[in-house]
């Protein structure tokens, strides 16, 4: 069985951090958060050169968007990960 680990992308101390918030085995749940990541990825790619040049700051994304979530990894063994199963994909921590 594949376990999909969901990360919350957030700004901490001016840096982007990704912390696992739980896991799901439900592919519908996985699909439902793809839009979250796409929005972040699209924004980051479009603004990547300006981000690198220091013209804009990643905080601008977080000032105007909810903290996005993404599938941080997929694994077949979560022993020792200390993560709970996500029961409501619409109310992620």
């Amino acid at each position: 069985m594949d376990y999909y680990i969901i990360n919350k992308i957030q700004l901490e101390g001016g840096e982007v951090k990704q912390n696992p918030v739980g896991y799901t085995t439900n592919l519908d749940d996985v699909e439902s958060i793809r839009g979250d990541l796409q929005e972040f990825t699209d924004w980051a790619i479009i603004n990547g050169p300006d981000l690198d040049a220091g013209i804009i700051d990643i905080s601008e994304f977080f000032n105007s968007h909810e903290n996005p979530h993404q599938i941080g990894q997929i694994t077949d063994n979560i022993d020792g990960f200390n993560l709970n199963e996500i029961t409501d994909i619409n109310n992620l921590p």
């Binding site: 680990i5 982007v16 980051a44 990547g48 993404q70 599938i71 997929i74 694994t75 077949d76 990960f81």
Partner: protein, 217 residues
Amino acid sequence: MAITIGNKTQANPTPGASFYQLAHNQNTGSDGLLIVSAVMSNSRTFTSATYGGQTMTQIFVKAFGGLAQYTKFWILENPPTGSNTLRVNFNGTQWNPISLYAKSFTGAQAGGNSINLSGASTPRSSNITLSSGSLVYAYGISINAVNGVQIPTGTATGAEFTHNTNRQVRGGLNTTPFSAGTVQIRTTSTSGSVTLQAYEIQEKATAGGNENFFLIM
């Protein structure tokens, strides 16, 4: 001792940082081996990888100008077992999605042969010389969908992963040990060019090999 295939972790995230880290569970057992492949846009390069705080050994690296991609492959012999942090570092903040694949083995050893070819018209094939009992992990990168990783050529492997790094990446692993000799490995894409990267996971050599011996008293 035959190779035992262990746990797998794969990821296709957007890091937004100068590193990405995740947990991976290395199986218990003697002669552990962890392999890690990574692919991303060549806007950045991979610098190093650690597992459980131990520095992994780089096997190969390649920058693909036409594909605007960059790949690196590492291994770690006798990694710490259980859940540990796999961390891959970049030379700056990476805003593009990356491909990470980690696979554990026991009964294995380092020292296997590898293939590391740039893109060329599909199918992309190359020979690799293998020791008895070896397995092979291979992957390909293309602008178009990578629709096959054949180990050996003519034998399709199930996708270990399919990732989008602004290019398409697919990996495959054969699960039946090879006899000693040379085999051909192949990647295919739906059209255009595709790369071929591969690594031989060797069975741990036993002391004295498989030869019979006599003790003369």
